[in-house]
Structures are given as structure tokens and as C-alpha cells.
């Protein structure tokens, strides 16, 4: 197998990790003002992701770094092309990260309310914008012969991409709600359950709308292959299963199901793109071959990544085990 193909898969894996883990972090942040009213409730919600959110965010940094190392042209075209969108994402992530740490450090209700807003907006904007970004990549962008995006910021805000943004926003919120169901107790847990039931149908409908939209707005039909068909089935089946398990009050399984939907979406997107990484509407596609590093760099990075990724997975899994308990009313809070 070409190392380019391996790295394409590895980057898909890193994005899956990022979207799965940060997905529920974003969802928790978005739901914060709606499922928790008192200060103690708010703190318990934030503490559900307290020990893990930062480690989860490193999946994004690693995906970005891996893209830079393995496909410099992909990294350069994507990051310069989505300049203003990424600026908004960065601003959101900065405010949100600091908010977790600062919020409960002072007793003032105004101080805490300010950071609660930062957590909400800082989670909502990236949840929406990652969907917009991926939908645009799938749709194809005006990329010229020098691999430079020549469109504007407002070209990125087309209806198809915005529906894509709503899909990730809805999916992450649902995923986060299911995570919260598993990690909270008492009043918050009851609020979360109501929220899950309200969210499921609109999220499923918008996802179906996006898939139908994709048949017309992208070249999905002409590029069906085993992997993106499986991805498509997984995405839809995951959502349906989540609905079923919610109905049966089996929330752990419902959470796994929304996780499978996220995996399915990544498979769908990456397998439809392959071997392109950024299709161009001007006929200058970036592919895993013209965007990649030299074989030597890919070899070095392969050895490093294949050694370290399993270790990272092992100790991150261990931390989820350490912090497996629900945050109930008697729990000790740090954030």
C-alpha cells in the first residue's frame, strides 16, 4: 500500500477521534445553559468533561499536525482557504478553553455568567463551522493551478454547506446530550433526557436532508464504493439505532450509536473524496499524491505514528476509566 493511502486513512482516523471526543465536548458546552440552571448544576455539567476536554482537543491538533507533515499542500490550501472561518473557530476555542478553567475560580455570579456564555458560544461555533468546512470540501472549491483557493469567505456559506453545518451542530448536541445522560444525576439527568427526546427527530431529519442534498451537490453518485456505502449505512443506521435505544432508555447504547454515526460520516466523506483531498471546481484537484510529502518524511512519520497512536489510545482510555463515575450532587467539583 502507498504510504499516501496509509496517511489518508490515518488522518481520517485522527479526525474520527477528534469528532467523536470533541463532538460530545461541544455538545456538553452547547447544552450547558439549557439543562443546568443553578450554579451547582452548571458546575456539575462542566465537570463531566473537566478531566478530558483538553486531551480530546489534542486530537484536532494532531490531525492538523499530521496533515501538515504528510500533506503540506492540503494543510496550506485548506488553512489559507478557510482563513476567516478558522479565525472564528480559533477565537471560539480560545474563549471556551479559558472559560472552563476560569469560570468557577471566582464566586461572582456575573463572572460565572460571562464564562458560561463563552462556553456556549465557543462550543456552538466550531460545532457548526466544522460541518460547513467539511461540506465545502466535499462539494469542491475554486482552487487554481497554484493550489490556492480563489473564492471568498461568503462563497463558503452556501446553502449546502450550511445544512452540513447544521448536521454537525445537531449531531454533536445529541451526542453530547447522551454523554451527559451517562455522566450526570438527579435534576440535570432528567433535563438531559427530555432534551435527548426533543433533539433526536430534528437531527435525524436534517441528516437525511443533507444526504439527499449531497446526491445533487456533490459527485457522490458517480463515486459510490464499498467504503462510502458502508459509511452511509452506518451513519443512518446509527441515528435510527440511537432513536430506538433512547426509546428503550438504553442510553449507553444510544451514545455508542451516535458515535457510529460520526464514524460513518467520516467514512462517507473521506471515501468519497479519495484519492482527492480537496476537489477543485476549476479542474485542479488536490490529491493524496500532489499534496503529499516526500516518501522519506512519510516513512519517518509512519514509524512514529504507528508507535505512538496505540499508546495514546491506551492511556486516554485509562483516564476515562478513572473518571467513569457520574457527577452527582455529592461529587467533589474542581471546575
Amino acid at each position: 500500500m502507498d504510504l499516501q493511502i496509509l496517511w489518508f486513512i490515518l488522518i481520517a482516523v485522527l479526525f474520527t477521534g477528534f469528532l467523536f471526543l470533541e463532538g460530545f465536548d461541544y455538545g456538553v458546552g452547547i447544552l450547558l445553559p439549557f439543562v443546568a440552571k443553578t450554579d451547582r448544576e452548571r458546575r456539575s455539567v462542566i465537570n463531566t468533561i473537566g478531566p478530558v476536554w483538553d486531551g480530546n482537543e489534542v486530537w484536532l491538533l494532531t490531525a492538523g499536525g499530521a496533515m501538515f507533515a504528510a500533506f503540506p499542500n492540503w494543510y496550506a490550501t485548506l488553512f489559507s482557504g478557510f482563513y476567516l472561518a478558522l479565525f472564528v473557530i480559533l477565537a471560539a476555542l480560545i474563549m471556551r478553553g479559558v472559560a472552563f478553567e476560569f469560570r468557577s475560580k471566582l464566586p461572582s455570579p456575573r463572572w460565572r455568567a460571562f464564562w458560561d456564555h463563552a462556553i456556549f458560544a465557543g462550543s456552538l461555533l466550531p460545532a457548526l463551522l466544522w460541518g460547513v468546512a467539511f461540506a465545502n470540501i466535499l462539494k469542491g472549491l475554486a482552487i487554481d493551478a497554484s493550489m490556492t483557493y480563489t473564492g471568498t469567505f461568503f462563497d463558503l456559506l452556501n446553502p449546502y454547506a450550511l445544512v452540513g453545518g447544521l448536521v454537525t451542530l445537531g449531531l454533536f448536541t445529541l451526542h453530547g446530550a447522551l454523554f451527559l445522560e451517562l455522566k450526570t444525576g438527579e435534576k440535570v439527568q432528567q433535563n438531559v433526557r427530555k432534551m435527548v427526546k426533543r433533539l433526536w427527530l430534528p437531527v435525524t431529519l436534517i441528516a437525511v436532508l443533507f444526504i439527499i442534498f449531497s446526491l445533487f451537490q456533490t459527485d457522490l453518485i458517480s463515486r459510490f464504493n464499498a467504503v462510502n456505502i458502508i459509511g452511509l449505512i452506518l451513519a443512518v443506521a446509527g441515528l435510527l439505532a440511537a432513536g430506538w435505544f433512547v426509546f428503550k432508555a438504553r442510553f449507553g447504547r444510544a451514545f455508542v450509536s451516535t458515535g457510529l454515526t460520526i464514524l460513518g460520516v467520516v467514512c462517507l466523506i473521506f471515501a468519497t473524496l479519495f484519492p482527492r483531498v480537496m476537489p477543485s471546481t476549476l479542474g485542479h484537484d488536490l490529491t493524496i499524491y500532489n499534496a503529499s510529502s516526500s516518501p522519506y518524511t512519510l516513512q519517518v512519520m509512519t514509524v512514529i505514528a504507528l508507535t505512538l497512536v496505540p499508546v495514546v489510545l491506551a492511556y486516554q482510555a485509562w483516564t476515562y476509566w478513572v473518571f467513569r463515575n457520574r457527577i452527582t450532587k455529592n461529587a467533589h467539583l474542581e471546575y
Binding site: 483538553d54 507533515a69 518524511t297 486516554q316 467533589h332
Partner: protein, 471 residues
């Protein structure tokens, strides 16, 4: 302003800001790990209180370094896409390794440390903070591997398509520049952590309002010892770096010295007013031969001046301006960095000697304690000016000798877009640093006894609510 100036300004602002927070994380994480080791080894609750107190300050600081670091990774692609295409092969690799090998450990185990006090065994919990300290400093290593390539490119070839390609990963790691810059930076971090502890402890020892002053005294003693050694070692590695750039980046040395014309032997400038338009100095007080001595360990030796290097580079690289754009800044940055270093060294040694066999009540003189409080800003001055010298002194190159900054910029990022992000980041960062300093000064004034009481700034400060449920 043109896009290049704006993009450079944005990189400067975001990087200097990011590096306000990083060194304290590097140094204080090690010092907190040492204090917790003492707690685990001796079982003395005093050390646990110290660990928790300094750990809180570490966390408030860590959050800022963490989130501003994401910007650093993204903006190479956002603002410098041509640079990213040209060196991605080489520069991307250490960045990816930094995330995989260091950031994951750092973030994951910091979470374990903060939330795991009662959840895992004492020893596993101690291991968590050591992993955080180790991984933070490891991340400094990888980013400096990347930066060293920009200062002194090695282990690469220029491929047929014009891109730089990696040929030897180990040459990148073994880049001599790394092995001077990395110790210089992490020891600078340790100095920052130590002076932070000294400054905060000195405040409490002066005010004498905390229930038990012992913890602050122990903290100060530890930090003075570590600080004296760390600052001396930082300066020695800095000196070695200076000697090295005499060889590899003579333009940077000349710009640090404001040396317009080559001299043999060269004198060390103490105070200079230059005229950058006419490329000469107007007023210059010098100590004869000292620059030659510092550069070559000999009272003789030619140090090349900016004008001669300009002529030499024009021959080598073609017509253009190869003199860094703000000599006054590199010149004064160098002096601020060295001045801060020397001052810190004397303060730390003096404090260490005078505090031996004393305690918080008997320590004299008081003026030294008073001076130590604002002295916690000295490492910040040295850290910032050090990077300004390193990066400004390399201009107009982005990668020394291979690519200039104006070739590196993203072609599709307009001045308007840059204004939006520059103003946006500057405002967000200004707001956050205000919030951060506000929080730090509150938590630094905490009484370690665990009551949440704050020691007031002065005898006349208004009463403040205790930080009861947040410690």
C-alpha cells in the same frame, strides 16, 4: 499596511503573547512536581499545601498557554501557506510529533492530576504531575527542532519541484542549534517558574498576614536555589548560542550589536543611537575588544558588520535588502535580555546566601524582599526580548538562506482579512490577559491554610470575599 507587515505583526503579537505563558508552565510544572515528590516522600502536609497552592497558579497559567498554542499551529497554514508548502516536509514532522508525543501526555495527565487527587494512588498521582512536567518540556524540544531548521537548515535537499525535502530526520534532531536553544529555553522556563515563586513568596513574607509563613519561606528557599542555578545556566547556553551565530547567522549577531561596520578587534556596544536610513551609528559607547572576546574567546577576531554582510549577501543571493528591518529593536532586545539575566542572577544568589539559616521573621534586608516582588516580571522581559532578537534578527529570511518572509505569505489572504484577525486576536488576548492577571493576583494572595482567605495587597485594601468553594 501591506499584507506582509500585517501577517508579521500578527505572528509577532500572537507568538510573544503565547510565550508569556509557556515558560511559566515549563518551569513551574517541574517545581510543583518537586514539591509533590517531597510530600509523597516525607508525608508532611506542608508540602501538600504548597503543591496545591502553586498548582492552582500553574493551572490558571496553563489554560492560557494551551489555547494560544492552537493559534500557533494553525497560522502557519493560514498566513504562511507558501512557507508551509515549501518546508511542510520538514517543518510539519516535528509539529506532528509534538502533538502526538507531548501534547497528548501533557493534556491528558494534567486532567488526571487536577481531578485525580482522591481517585488514584498517591504515587500514580505524583507520576501524573511528573508526566505533565516532562511532556511540557518535551513539547518545547519538538517546536525548537522546527524553529532550529528556520535558523540553521540541516538534513534536507531542494527537490526538483523547488520544495525543501527532508533527507535525514536525525540530522534535524541533532541540529547543533537545537542543543543550545532547547536548554536555553527550558532553563529560561525554570528561571521564570523560580522567580514567579520567589516574587509571590516574598509578598507573603513581607506582609506577614498568612496563618503560617513557613510554606512561603520553604517555597522561596527552594525557588532561590533553583533560580540561581537556572539563570546562570540559561546565560551560559545563551552565550554559547551567541558564539554559534557569529558563525551561522552573522547578520543576527551584527543586528544584536548594532554593528554597522566590521571591526577587528570588535568592541562591545554599551549604549548606541543609530541611523538606520544611512546605515551608521550616531552615538556609540563601547568597551574595546569585548565583542571579539565574547564571540571567539580571544581579544582579536573580526566581527562582520551589517554593511559588509549586506554586500556579501548581495553577491551570494542576488540584489535585495538583507539587513533586519529594526536594528534598534534587536539591539535593545539583546541588552534587555542580558540585563534582566544578570540582574536576576545577582538577586537570586544574594537572596539564597542571605536566607541561609534564617526564617520568615529574621530575614534581612527587607528591601531585597520588596525588590523580589516586581522582579517576577524580569524573566518575562528576558523571554520576550530573547525571541524578538532570535526572530527579528533572522529577517528578511524565514528559513535562513533558503526563503524570505515575503515569499512565504499566503497569496489569497488579503489585508482586510488580516486586519480582522489581527484586531480580533489582539482584543481577545488583551481581554484574556486582564482576566488572567486578575485571577493570578487573587490566587497568589491566598493563604495556604485552606480557609480561602486572601491576604490584602496593603493594610488599607478593602476586604475581599474568601475563595471558599473554588480551592
Amino acid at each position: 499596511m501591506d499584507p506582509i507587515t500585517l501577517a508579521r505583526l500578527q505572528f509577532g503579537v500572537t507568538t510573544v503573547y503565547h510565550f508569556f505563558f509557556v515558560p511559566l508552565t515549563l518551569g513551574l510544572s517541574i517545581l510543583v512536581a518537586v514539591m509533590q515528590s517531597l510530600y509523597v516522600a516525607r508525608g508532611d502536609e506542608k508540602y501538600k499545601r504548597m503543591t496545591k497552592f502553586w498548582g492552582k497558579l500553574l493551572l490558571i497559567n496553563f489554560a492560557m498557554g494551551d489555547v494560544t498554542g492552537i493559534v500557533q499551529e494553525f497560522q502557519f497554514g493560514m498566513n504562511w501557506s507558501e512557507y508551509s508548502r515549501f518546508v511542510g516536509d520538514i517543518f510539519g514532522a516535528p509539529l506532528a510529533v509534538e502533538a502526538l508525543a507531548a501534547f497528548f501526555i501533557e493534556s491528558t495527565f494534567l486532567g488526571v492530576w487536577v481531578f485525580g487527587w482522591d481517585k488514584i494512588s498517591k504515587k500514580a498521582h505524583l507520576a501524573a504531575i511528573w508526566l505533565v512536567a516532562f511532556a511540557s518540556n518535551l513539547s518545547a524540544f519538538w517546536i525548537l527542532v522546527a524553529n532550529s531548521f528556520m535558523q540553521h537548515p540541516v538534513g534536507y535537499r531542494i527537490a526538483e519541484n523547488g520544495r525543501a525535502e527532508m533527507t535525514d530526520f536525525f540530522a534535524l534532531i541533532l541540529n547543533p542549534n537545537v542543543w543550545l536553544q532547547f536548554p536555553h529555553v527550558v532553563l529560561g522556563g525554570l528561571t521564570t517558574g523560580a522567580f514567579f515563586m520567589v516574587g509571590v513568596s516574598a509578598f507573603h513574607i513581607l506582609r506577614k498576614k498568612a496563618v503560617s509563613l513557613d510554606e512561603y519561606w520553604l517555597s522561596m528557599r527552594l525557588a532561590l536555589g533553583v533560580g540561581a542555578i537556572a539563570v546562570l545556566a540559561t546565560m551560559l547556553f545563551g552565550h554559547a548560542q551567541g558564539q554559534r551565530i557569529a558563525d551561522t547567522q552573522p547578520m543576527k549577531l551584527a543586528s544584536a550589536e548594532g554593528l554597522w561596520h566590521s571591526e577587528d578587534p570588535a568592541g562591545l556596544s554599551m549604549f548606541q543611537i543609530g541611523d538606520e536610513t544611512n546605515r551608521k551609528s550616531v552615538i556609540n559607547f563601547r568597551i574595546p575588544s569585548l565583542l571579539s572576546l565574547l564571540s571567539y574567546n580571544s581579544t582579536n577576531g573580526k566581527v562582520l558588520g551589517l554593511n559588509d554582510l549586506q554586500a556579501q549577501y548581495e553577491q551570494q543571493y542576488g540584489p535585495g535588502n538583507y539587513i533586519p528591518p529594526a536594528i534598534w529593536l534587536t539591539y535593545w532586545s539583546f541588552r534587555a535580555m542580558v540585563g534582566a539575566g544578570v540582574l536576576m542572577f545577582f538577586m537570586a544568589v544574594m537572596g539564597w546566601v542571605l536566607s541561609a539559616r534564617k526564617n520568615a521573621d529574621t530575614f534581612k534586608p527587607r528591601w531585597l524582599l520588596t525588590a523580589m516582588v516586581p522582579a517576577l516580571l524580569l524573566p518575562y522581559l528576558a523571554n520576550s526580548t530573547g525571541w524578538m532578537l532570535t526572530e527579528m534578527g533572522r529577517q528578511p529570511w524565514i528559513v535562513q538562506g533558503l526563503m524570505t518572509v515575503d515569499q512565504a505569505i499566503s497569496p489569497n489572504v488579503t489585508a482586510a482579512m488580516l486586519w480582522i484577525s489581527l484586531i480580533g486576536f489582539t482584543l481577545i488576548y488583551a481581554g484574556l490577559i486582564a482576566a488572567d492577571v486578575y485571577l493570578l493576583q487573587k490566587y497568589a494572595r491566598l493563604d495556604m491554610s485552606g480557609t480561602g482567605k486572601l491576604v490584602p495587597w496593603t493594610g488599607r485594601s478593602p476586604a475581599e470575599a474568601p475563595l471558599k468553594d473554588t480551592i
